[in-house]
Symmetry: C2
Amino acid sequence: MPRPSTPLLSPDRIRSVALAIIDRDGLDGLSMRKLAAELGVQAASLYGHVRTKDQLLNDVASSILSSVDVSGFSVDWREGLLRCARSYRAALSSHPNIVPFLAYGPAGRDESLQRLDILHGALVDAGWSRREATMIAAGLMYIVFGSALSSFSSGFSSDPADYTGRYPHLDRAHLLPGVARELDRDSFELALAAFVRGL
Amino acid sequence: MPRPSTPLLSPDRIRSVALAIIDRDGLDGLSMRKLAAELGVQAASLYGHVRTKDQLLNDVASSILSSVDVSGFSVDWREGLLRCARSYRAALSSHPNIVPFLAYGPAGRDESLQRLDILHGALVDAGWSRREATMIAAGLMYIVFGSALSSFSSGFSSDPADYTGRYPHLDRAHLLPGVARELDRDSFELALAAFVRGL
DNA sequence: CGATTAACCGAACAGTGTTAGGTTAACCCA
DNA sequence: TGGGTTAACCTAACACTGTTCGGTTAATCG
């Protein structure tokens, strides 16, 4: 195929299809060739619009992080922490498959740094020391990423036989997959509430 | 090379060299060919001792998890939570490169389930409902995995120019890499203390 | 109208996990 | 002691992966 009259590719389209593949097939399910095929194109053509696969993943990640809301700090710092953590988790759990990639280096992305800057500033304004503010921000990220990552959704078996006998207190663990979404959310809320209350 | 007089390979030796490579070169730095080369062998020979690479990683992970200590619940549940979380984090942070793999499905490993069983039983004995016990265990794992994974060690730049101007409250972020280890530990302790206190 | 640039393709490179089939040494039993 | 079986390793290959190089054609601009 020569140069088409109207371009088939654009960074936006590439990002959106890439995210759709990740959501559907997982992080390992995304390959440049599969992505190209779904865009009606050969793999090499992608490199005219995207520098590397890693950069593409970073761009996808940034677009997800841009929905994190840090406006709650205008009320007070506790409310700010709660709202920030909730919207952060909501952003991650709507695209759970990309979380392992995101968890590698969240500090390097501009979207993360902007929000961290606001969060840090609000905590210092509220009277916490700079060091304390940093640690509180870190602790909040622990809960957000921990809940998005090591979620109970995946991991437990639905077969009672996998638990009875060997694990006396886990005799109902086989029911977890059915209530995983709800339980994950409630566990997150519990951890978040306990953390903010304990500060 | 024919069959050697004394075997070159054993599951133990394979696991330990694999872990050494992961510690040195990262999770992506481990390939079956490199692993084989360091064992003085060809890649195909590994498959006589190991089913798949994924299974090998699972075995390595299990050996790390076996050092997690849940004996503190004999004192009381708060002390149990604290000790368990600390030894869990210590186990993970001594091999940080394998944590991303571990975070995928911690519930499936026997070592995890055994410890989760004890933890869950102790919380129920202390008066928490089964559901609360599950959520508390989940919250503890959030903090442990979050702190081991999205650590501040990696992620921040040492160049002040990356922060001044754009992020007014992060003007000292370039100092973070130098104190990352200490700050990560303190942030973990803060989050853990706040969580357990807030319960 | 001519030159340049942008968009895509085909083929290739080095690397990945994994398997099939072959070779030889060690071991067990008659 | 000899013969058969098994265990441990090998070579070669398969189907992938991300990425690059050079080529071809259409759109665009002076």
